[in-house]
Amino acid sequence: MPYTEAELAEELKGKKYEFGFVSNFESDKAPKGINEDIIRLISSKKNEPEWLLEYRLNAFKQWKSMQEPEWAHVDYPPVDFQDIYYYSAPKTKKRLNSLDELDPELKSMYDKLGISTEEQKRLAGVAVDVVIDSVSVETSFKDKLAELGIIFSSFSEAVQEHPELVRKYLGSVIPSNDNFYAALNAAVFTDGSFCYIPEGVRCPMELSTYFRINEAQTGQFERTLVVAEKGSYVSYLEGCTAPMRDENQLHAAVVELIAMDDAEIKYSTVQNWYPGDEDGKGGIYNFVTKRGLCEGRNSKISWTQVETGSAITWKYPSCVLKGDNSVGEFYSVAVTNNYQQADTGTKMVHIGRNTRSTIISKGISAGRSNNSYRGLVKVLPKAANARNFSQCDSLLLGSSCGAHTFPYIEAQNSTSKIEHEATTSKIGEDQIFYCLQRGIDEEKAVSLIVNGYAKEVLNKLPMEFAIEAQKLLSISLEGSVG
């Protein structure tokens, strides 16, 4: 799909946050606040089995005794957890079999999001699960996937239809007491996606979830669980948007990935939650826990993320490399502008022998934003021949922003090799000059250089996402030059 710079320039004209619309379909809300009754209400609305309610209540109990983490390099007023709607669902009267039955309001929202399902069908590439205000409203291509034995459904459906699988894997990578936000999520998560790839199956299409927060004052707490059995492969995409609002909204998701022997999971995220306006008003607090477990031998988990949205990002997609010869990868581009703050990075925990990990992180800060990379590479004594390579580069645009790197490296094995490298600089004046004298104006030149700088990561994205990500980068940095 060729996409020329001229087209990009055309699109960028006067472009701000383009997903800042609010859709007015009716929604079903539980009262504000969090307590055991709300959790019971959520659980009963979802018609959940007893063990899941127990799991939630237990997590809630743990959450109450936990402290909000303060170690991240971000600064924000305390969140009032009692001032949030924990359950809000678009009212759907019945289960839908085809798109034509869809609420027209909902459908037009999809169109605005650029994920019109028809188009997706035509492209025949992506199966989409759409999650709005934490309730999954629709999953496409389900039947086609089912033929291969792949389960791809909303989390609540999976709870009903495959409770044994959900029970087995839920919380197995991220226990409910892992951290403050993971515990909160475990207590009140309302929906999300569930994906199970059976042994030896290579998922023929990209699976995709779109998350959207629509209601005011709601928190979104979705839960994603991807299980890849022996020898299987899946590529999973995740996109996020939210309307423009003056208030801060909370998003605390949990994503768990499990890869068995010889399995591979590729998980890509384009995160474009509403980042707040130019004065730092509003925006999403994005406090997400993501972790993949390479359980089996020769398994591989690869995280790719493009983070352009959110007022605050607090997110560390990690890999636990338990199986021998397993591989973990983390490719990230994080862009912050205006008053955005991002504290993001990864953890690579080497447990098995001959495990390898790669970390490529590109931070771009503009305006008055702060962008931090925080990462951990840990090699345990048994992880013979572990190998890690990390590279964290930061690019500064403007003199009021900050770029920070906090890597932790802990090695306990004498046959492991670990390399870490980080650089911080601004765009070279000679690079800009070169573009200028070739007739490319400064704003375009910056966009060109930034895209080149992030290429290493963007290349890892599936194509549809790569184009979107490129556009996002340019939009996010709009007005940061000069």
Binding site: G402, F406, K417
Partner: protein
């Protein structure tokens, strides 16, 4: 042992200056010793240090014997268990004034008090506060403007006696355009279980050039906590080389406060650990003003069950444009029971900067080992040669030849017993 009990053993020490009284109040009320829950002390457990019943031995001059650096012709100041001894000390070259902190008087005392404690913070740093509270003596050295001192000045600290606890406090002022180097040598004798908590404030005035070599060699069974605070003025140059030879638990805090333009700062160090040693180096390069350069290189080799820790932070403030700050940390693990924890940090608020850090953890190059073995060297010999080559990058930066040879000999001997 509770904090109160630990502090009680020092309370008989008389306070010499008002700052000591203040620090005592702070440390008795509220200010606690760090635990591994504190980010800054995450990898170093100091509980064994602060739960020991120490002793205060009277200085024994016979303990100062064979601590010479071979072939070195240095002007030496001698401190025994923290107390200055003028008989054993040499006369200083012209332009260098030396006072014992405890006995400085008149104008020198006034000047000293102006600087003492002005650059380090006791707040949130319990070991700094402990030092301020209970130091008995130390060196106050003033190098006058325009003075060029050709031979290095050696400050020899000897700790002797079992479980000797010493709080050593030092202050060096290097005047404008002066050029000088210092060897701060910590030695020990019959001092198993000893603990030294040393604090140095080093002020380098405009266009001055100072080198400071910190050599820690108090003995296998000792603990040492060292804080070196460097303050640099306009266009000054300062290099600090930290070499930890012995010590069971050693923690070095090296802070550079770069307060004006045109400064050059160098931070170098080696930590070669064996047995159950734990050596922790924390460095902080604080770039407050534009047009400064800092270079940092720390190398470590860990054998047996030892642990190495490195935490290097580069802070570039909003005004510090055109900063070049480079940091490199390289580690070799020789044993599966050895470990290393490293955390190179960058915190940058200015855009027109070039900053980088690199960090590696690995082992001796197998091909190089094979090459040497094929040339007839034993495996042990070959690995020693490679370790020496690894160290040489830092050793070459030591500009005092006698000291360099001394440390080369230390590196050669260090892993004799270790089966690499």
């Amino acid at each position: 042992m509770s904090k109160a009990d630990f502090l009680k053993q020092f309370d008989s020490i008389a306070a010499l200056f008002p700052i000591q009284g203040k620090a005592r109040a702070a440390i008795h009320n509220g200010l606690d010793f760090p635990t591994t829950r504190d980010e800054y002390w995450k990898y170093t457990r100091v509980a064994p240090i602060v739960s020991t019943d120490y002793k205060q031995h009277a200085p024994d001059l016979n303990s100062v014997a064979d601590f010479e650096i071979q072939d070195g012709e240095f002007k030496t100041l001698v401190f025994v268990n923290g107390v200055y001894n003028s008989k054993l000390s040499d006369t200083m070259p012209e332009g260098v004034e030396v006072h014992s902190i405890a006995h400085a008087s008149g104008e020198a005392k006034n000047e000293m008090l102006e600087h003492l404690g002005a650059y380090v913070s006791d707040k949130n740093h319990a070991f700094n506060a402990l030092n301020t509270s209970y130091f008995v003596d130390g060196a106050f050295i003033k190098v006058k403007e325009q003075t060029e001192v050709s031979d290095p000045i050696r400050i020899l600290h000897v700790s002797h006696g079992e479980k000797q606890a010493t709080n050593s406090r030092n202050l060096i002022l290097v005047g404008k355009h002066a050029q000088v180097s210092f060897i701060h040598q910590f030695e020990g004798k019959e001092n198993d279980g000893a603990f030294t908590n040393a604090l140095m404030e080093l002020v380098v005035e405009e266009e001055a050039n100072a080198s400071y070599y910190l050599i820690e060699n108090e003995g296998e069974q000792t603990s040492h906590i060292n804080t070196t605070q460097v303050v640099q003025k306009r266009s000054s140059t300062c290099s600090v080389v930290t070499v930890t030879k012995t010590g069971k638990l050693v923690r070095n805090n090296l802070n550079f406060s770069i307060t004006d333009q045109g400064c050059e700062s160098n931070l170098y160090g080696i930590y070669f650990t064996s047995d159950q040693q734990h050596i922790d180096n924390h460095t902080y390069a604080d770039h407050q003003m534009p047009n400064c350069n800092s270079n940092e290189l720390y190398k470590g080799v860990m054998a047996d069950r030892s642990t190495g820790v490195f935490n290097g932070k580069i802070m570039v403030h909003r005004d510090a444009q055109q900063t070049n700050a480079f940091q490199s940390n390289q580690n070799i693990l020789l044993s599966d029971r050895a470990s290393v924890n490293t955390k190179p940090e960058l915190e940058i608020y200015a855009d027109d900067v070039k900053c980088s850090h690199g960090c590696t953890i690995g082992q001796l190059d197998e091909e190089a080992l094979f090459y040497l073995q094929s040339r007839g060297l034993g495996k042990q010999e070959a690995s020693h040669l490679l370790v020496r080559a690894f160290a040489s990058e830092v050793l070459e930066l030591i500009e005092v030849p006698e000291l360099r040879s001394d440390i080369e000999r230390f590196v050669e001997r260090k892993f004799d017993k270790v089966d690499a």
